[in-house]
């Protein structure tokens, strides 16, 4: 047996809600950390370093808010650093923790974070500030109208309809109803989605993720430590990030540098992860996928980028056929996904955590039967920075 692999040995997640008035920001982090440590069966002495997962400070109203989380994660006088890759932060933090271990620097690393998006006032006001102050900020851009423009282009290129988008919401809400950690767990109908208030055409209210509050944490360890301590683990076998242009204007028009309908850099990131994990035919080899898709339309191009279908746009018909439902060929977002829970700082960590639970066989009511290999992704910035992982039993 090699000693080179990095395993996931503990997972903690809040039951995500719109508000958590009962818990301060550090208490929310602590809640997830305690769960992860108990899940791993380890004491804090075993943790050699901490990677803190926090996206925009403005969501919690404190500059460098990770500093306030030091005691919550047991980080005092230990190696500690924070990652912020926007919405990808959670998966990027797991990746950073992975590099701590695979480099040989540490045997056991904790990554943790929390967000209070539901209590920030207006996340779109905060997120408008991600754009350049002189050109794109004044449009005004937000993440909803940014991805509505992607939806329009995807419709034009591949024939997606508003009904197709509604199918995604109906599917993911059905999945979330089985997941006690999910924020939006109410099953909805096609008509309810299609008749919901238009936010930024073609995105309607029920095509949107919620603003969630909650925390997540994971413990990673070296294969040697796992073996020596007889721990149970699942394995990170593929890790990658790829970014694309910052400028929205460069992704649209007649000659875009990266087509905004697609998720070009995400596709590149998946290619790298698959190569590392030895996956040559993801549509046949992947058993379960947790893919970061905060608006219903984006699930299509994310499935395309993961090559779970044969060509870009192929996800539309296959989703109509139920291939990505629980019980289908490759269940996508069996937890309900980002569409049902979005505590931004840890949303992409939850994608990794949920896939890990799936290949571990510990996902509960939303377990995908026989899942042994899964994939996770995260999108950050203005659909710009993408992280991907392959997790195997």
């Amino acid at each position: 047996m090699s000693n080179d692999r990095v395993g996931i040995v503990g997972i903690g997640q809040s039951a995500f809600r719109a508000r958590r008035d009962d818990a301060s920001y550090p208490e929310l982090v602590r809640e997830a950390v305690v769960q992860a440590m108990q899940d791993a069966g380890l004491a804090f002495d075993a943790i050699e370093a901490v990677v803190y997962s926090l996206s925009p400070d403005a969501m919690v109203g404190i500059g460098n808010a990770e500093r306030l989380g030091v005691d919550a994660v047991g980080g005092r006088n230990k190696p500690f650093l924070r990652i912020n890759n926007g919405g990808a932060t959670g998966i990027s933090s797991v990746a950073a923790a992975y590099y701590h271990v695979v480099s040989g620097m540490c045997d056991v690393v904790l990554t943790a974070g929390a967000d209070k998006v539901g209590e920030c006032g207006d996340s779109q006001s905060v997120l408008n500030k991600i754009w350049d102050p002189s050109y794109e900020r004044p449009l005004p851009l937000g993440t909803i109208n940014m991805l509505a423009m992607s939806a329009v282009r995807y419709m034009q290129r591949y024939g997606m309809t508003e009904q197709d988008m509604a199918h995604v919401t109906v599917k993911n809400r059905r999945h979330a109803s089985l997941n006690p950690k999910a924020h939006l767990r109410k099953v909805v109908t096609m008509d309810e989605v299609l008749e919901s208030r238009c936010i930024s055409w073609p995105i309607k209210l029920l095509d949107c993720c919620p603003q969630s509050s909650g925390g997540a944490a994971m413990v990673l360890a070296s294969e040697r430590f796992i073996r020596d301590n007889r721990l149970d683990a699942v394995w990170i076998t593929g890790v990658a990030h790829v970014a694309e242009t910052y400028w929205m204007g460069d992704r649209m028009g007649n000659n875009p540098t990266a087509e905004h309908a697609d998720a070009y850099a995400l596709g590149r990131s998946f290619e790298k992860s698959y190569r590392m994990a030895g996956i040559t035919d993801p549509a046949r080899q992947v058993h379960v996928a947790e893919l970061y898709a905060p608006f219903s339309n984006t699930e299509f191009h994310v499935i395309d980028a993961a090559r779970l279908v044969e060509r870009a746009g192929g996800s539309i018909a296959r989703l109509r056929d139920g291939e990505f439902e629980l019980g289908g060929r490759i269940p996508v977002n069996p937890s309900g996904g980002t569409l049902c829970t979005n505590a931004i700082a840890v949303t992409a960590m939850a994608r990794v955590a949920e896939v890990a639970l799936q290949v571990w066989g510990r996902a509960g009511a939303h377990q995908v039967e026989g899942a042994r290999l899964g994939i996770a992704s995260g999108n950050g910035g203005d659909h710009q920075i993408f992280g991907t992982m392959v997790i195997e039993a």
Binding site: N64, R67, N84, G104, G381, Q384, I385
Partner: protein, 379 residues
């Protein structure tokens, strides 16, 4: 050390002050990244991954890595950001090279000064219920630490005055042409103008590479990473003893153990310390085991840490010469890398072979790091 692959610094661009407004922030970052690549003698096409560090409040953006992605070559590449501290970008980049999954990393950090009030931007980093109302900014936290040290250590003030004079003198030698002078900083008791420096705009970049890349390209000026450690103290000042630096002591232990250093006071040719105030430098002497606190006055007044002394500290002039707030930690690492590579310019120490960089940041240096770099890969 326990790293799977030993990273080396093959290129640096240290720009501790950037005057004039003819270049935008994006262009400034681009310039710095290109200078580091040119110093390494490689092109952006050779870079496998990038780690950047910046402060959203100083940049006036919610996720400042986004804007920087283009200027540093992040498009179509693996890019991550560590907004906790500039030195953390180096640490993560080094871990990525050490993983064996990347041959090279470009590390970039910057610190602009366009924000209407740096103190207010820092105050947002204090918890909203207790510290923010004080009001607390980084200089106030440094002043509290200085005050505690003056009470705890006899003659600390005289030693601090000597450190400040030393670093300003080093700064004059390091920046002879044109002779630029740091602006005197704002005051917080007991800190005087001679003990602080106003923030300036600056940036810094480094290129890290794996040994096989170094060999393949025939690179010779390499600062090899012998050891690194980093740690944090808790955020509430009331939970800390500001007269001590336990996180730095922990970081130093990690770094020294990895580098096989038993006697730190005799191990280095040159040291860079984050001297946001001279009291911070004094405290670092102690935590890094370079000089016990009871010897502070004697060693700072006999020239031990000055140019020509037993162990020169902050030949660059340190933060007391130029203070690009957010990236001062990474600059300390780049300065030591340049010293052991023989590329430190006017303040080069002859035959510097092994150096120590200490980086500290946050309120009263909450975050601490110690990095050992040497001209030879192994001791």
């Amino acid at each position: 050390m326990g790293l799977r692959v030993q990273p080396g610094v093959i290129g640096c661009a240290v720009r501790p002050v950037i005057v004039g407004r003819e270049r935008s922030l994006e262009e400034m970052i681009y310039d710095t990244a290109q200078l580091a690549l040119a110093d390494a003698g490689i092109a952006i096409a050779d870079i496998d991954g990038i780690v950047v560090a910046s402060n959203d409040q100083f940049d006036g953006r919610s996720i400042s890595v986004m804007m920087a992605s283009g200027p540093v070559g992040g498009v179509d590449r693996d890019i991550m950001s560590t907004p906790s501290a500039s030195e953390h970008a180096f640490i993560l980049g080094a871990l990525r090279v050490a993983s064996g999954q990347f041959r090279t990393q470009l590390i970039v950090s910057w610190s602009p000064t366009e924000v209407s009030s740096m103190a207010e931007a820092q105050r947002l980093g204090a918890d909203p219920y207790f510290h923010r109302a004080l009001p607390l900014d980084e200089l106030s936290a440094h002043a509290l630490q200085a005050s505690v040290l003056e009470n705890a250590v006899p003659h600390a003030r005289a030693a601090a005055q000597a450190v400040a004079a030393k670093n300003r003198m080093h700064g004059q030698l390091a920046w002879p042409d044109p002779p630029l002078h740091p602006e005197p900083g704002p005051l917080r008791w007991p800190l005087t103008q001679a003990m602080t420096t106003a923030p300036v705009t600056g940036s810094v970049a480094l290129v890290l590479a794996a040994p096989d890349f170094v060999a393949e390209r025939g690179l010779r000026d390499v600062a090899w990473l012998r050891g690194m450690g980093w740690a944090t103290e808790p955020s509430f000042l009331g939970d800390r003893d500001l007269a001590t630096a336990p996180a730095l002591a922990a970081a130093a232990r990690q770094a020294y153990e990895a580098a096989g250093i038993a006697d730190p006071a005799a191990a280095f040719d040159v040291v860079e310390i984050n001297d946001a105030t001279p009291y911070a430098e004094l405290l670092a002497y102690d935590a890094l085991s370079l000089c016990k606190r009871e010897d502070w006055l004697a060693r700072t007044t006999d020239g031990s840490f000055a140019r020509g002394g037993r162990l020169p500290v902050n030949l660059s002039g340190g933060v007391l010469t130029w203070n690009p707030l957010f990236c001062t930690g990474l600059i300390r690492i780049a300065e030591i890398a340049n010293q052991v590579r023989g590329r430190a310019g006017a303040h080069q120490l002859a035959n510097a072979r092994c150096g120590l960089a200490q980086a500290g940041s946050g309120f009263a240096m909450q975050y601490q790091a110690a990095i050992v770099l040497a001209r030879e890969a192994r001791a």
